[in-house]
């Protein structure tokens, strides 16, 4: 494997519910970068992420994470994942949720508090998750992924339902983590978030439509913004 790659996906095919969710996708995620995974809902983003964290049964192709096949037991402490719907315990407090995940990945107890601060929930640490808003809950989910200092973070739409200030803060945190060497794959269907990524992967109907830096994609399409670039990539007459 190339040293510069945290994730390498080669001709990955996944069939879910009788239809091809991923139709031979090849891509890579460079180490120490924030890679955005963009595409409309149903394009295969979540399926790709599940394949990378090793929870998805794949039909063919290969997925290497940190040089090892996805789902290898030794990767479980090095790769962290948040699902699209926040996977946290609604009847526990923020602190109790993050503490539990910290213990499972054998992280020092102090890291739970740091992760809660990082997602901006320091003042709500004692609140029961079930009483929080949807956006707050997804941040609890994010905090549970940050404990244990994973080398690869796979985040499925972590900024859905957040206000612009929080979204900016989180993207800044992602960039900071990438600066520390963490490799992040972040999905979004909000195209304007694309500009905050080092690399972009555009997915549509289970196929990789385009890849490159935001600048490259804008230059190639001659578009003004990411929304426009995406529409141009789909091609004329197919935009509907």
């Amino acid at each position: 494997m190339a040293d510069g790659h945290a994730v390498e996906v080669d001709r990955l095919r996944v069939v879910r519910g009788g239809r091809e969710a991923l139709a031979g996708v090849s891509l890579d995620v460079r180490r120490g970068t924030v890679t955005g995974l963009l595409g409309p809902s149903g394009s295969g983003k979540s399926t790709l992420m599940r394949a990378i964290v090793g929870t998805q049964i794949v039909a063919s192709g290969s997925v290497l994470v940190l040089g090892e096949p996805a789902g290898t037991p030794s990767l479980r402490a090095r790769v962290a994942y948040t699902t699209q719907a926040p996977a946290v315990y609604g009847d526990l407090t923020v602190q109790e949720n993050v503490d539990y995940f910290a213990r499972l990945v054998r992280a020092p107890a102090a890291q739970a508090g740091e992760a809660i601060e990082l997602v901006g929930l320091g003042d709500d640490a004692g609140r029961v998750v079930g009483s929080l808003s949807g956006g707050q809950r997804s941040r609890v989910s994010l905090a549970t992924a940050l404990v244990g200092r994973p080398e690869v973070l796979v985040l499925d739409e972590p900024t859905v339902g957040l206000d612009p200030v929080l979204r900016r803060d989180l993207w800044q945190a992602f960039a900071r983590l990438a600066g520390e060497g963490v490799s992040l794959l972040v999905s979004s269907h909000v195209m304007d978030e694309a500009e905050r990524c080092d690399q972009l992967l555009l997915l549509r109907d289970g196929r990789l439509l385009a890849r490159g830096t935001p600048g490259e994609i804008l230059a190639r399409t001659g578009a003004e913004g990411m929304d426009d670039a995406f529409l141009r990539l789909i091609g004329p007459g197919d935009a509907a």
Binding site: V53, G54, T55, T82, T83, A87, Y89, G90, L92, L104
Partner: protein, 244 residues
């Protein structure tokens, strides 16, 4: 067993504690039922003594079956199970964590209902009351592990609740409580041998009626432990790291 099992047990108990109404129901309902039994047979104290002990030992089995299957089903439907399966946590640790948590909850339940039955309601068994309580906790762990296994076959909480009559009631009907097993048709008697609750009831009945025990009580206990271990292995096997 790694740190993950006690961490999981602590987390499950914390969740249970956040739901005081469920805790109250778990603790009070069996006491009320035993009291009901007492006054149902107020003119026949011998009947109360004969079935009170065994029933007291079976309540935790039923209660923990339901509570565990629902809790585990929630874990599956809210996505936390998928998340846990991406972590360095063995499936056995998760299942063992559940088992330990509900065994502790069952110990509290069995102790309370035993105190009420023996001290307040004057239940009188031939054997030592503590042995009834210990068997009750063992049965609760068995119920818990069976509930865990059963939860794999439910998609909704409605279905999980229906597993109580589906998994538990036939065992209760055939265990010898309602009709002595030797009076059953040969077929039903043979079926009863294959059901773990039969041995749970048999052990309780022995302690309720007899003062000295032989290998048959040991066999009952061995079957209960064996069935618990089997349900634990089967339950762990239903947890899939990779799903379609």
């Amino acid at each position: 067993m790694s740190v993950a099992a006690p961490a999981t047990a602590a987390r499950v108990l914390r969740q249970l504690r956040r739901d005081p109404r469920t805790v109250a129901l778990l603790l009070i309902v069996p006491c009320v039922l035993v009291a009901l039994l007492k006054y149902l047979f107020v003119d026949e104290p011998a009947v109360f003594d004969r079935i009170g002990g065994p029933l007291l030992g079976l309540f935790p089995f039923i209660a923990m079956f339901v509570v565990t299957s629902i809790t585990m089903l929630r874990e599956r439907t809210t996505g936390t199970l998928e998340r846990l399966m991406t972590l360095p946590l063995s499936r056995f640790d998760l299942v063992a964590g559940y088992g330990v948590a509900f065994a502790l909850a069952a110990a509290v339940q069995a102790t309370l209902v035993s105190l009420v039955a023996f001290l307040l309601l004057g239940l009188d068994v031939a054997g030592p009351p503590w042995l009834i309580a210990v068997l009750a906790v063992g049965n609760a762990v068995l119920g818990s592990t069976l509930g865990l296994f059963a939860s794999a076959f439910a998609r909704t909480e409605f279905q999980a609740v229906q597993f109580m009559p589906a998994f538990v009631l036939p065992q209760l009907l055939l265990c010898g409580l309602f009709v002595p097993r030797e009076d059953m048709s040969r077929l039903l008697e043979l079926v009863s041998y294959a059901l773990p609750l039969t041995y749970a009831y048999d052990a309780l009945e022995r302690v309720a009626l007899e003062t000295s025990y032989d290998w048959r009580l040991a066999l009952d206990i061995a079957v209960i432990v064996g069935a618990t271990a089997l349900a634990l292995v089967l339950g762990a096997a239903t947890l899939r790291r990779r799903t379609p």
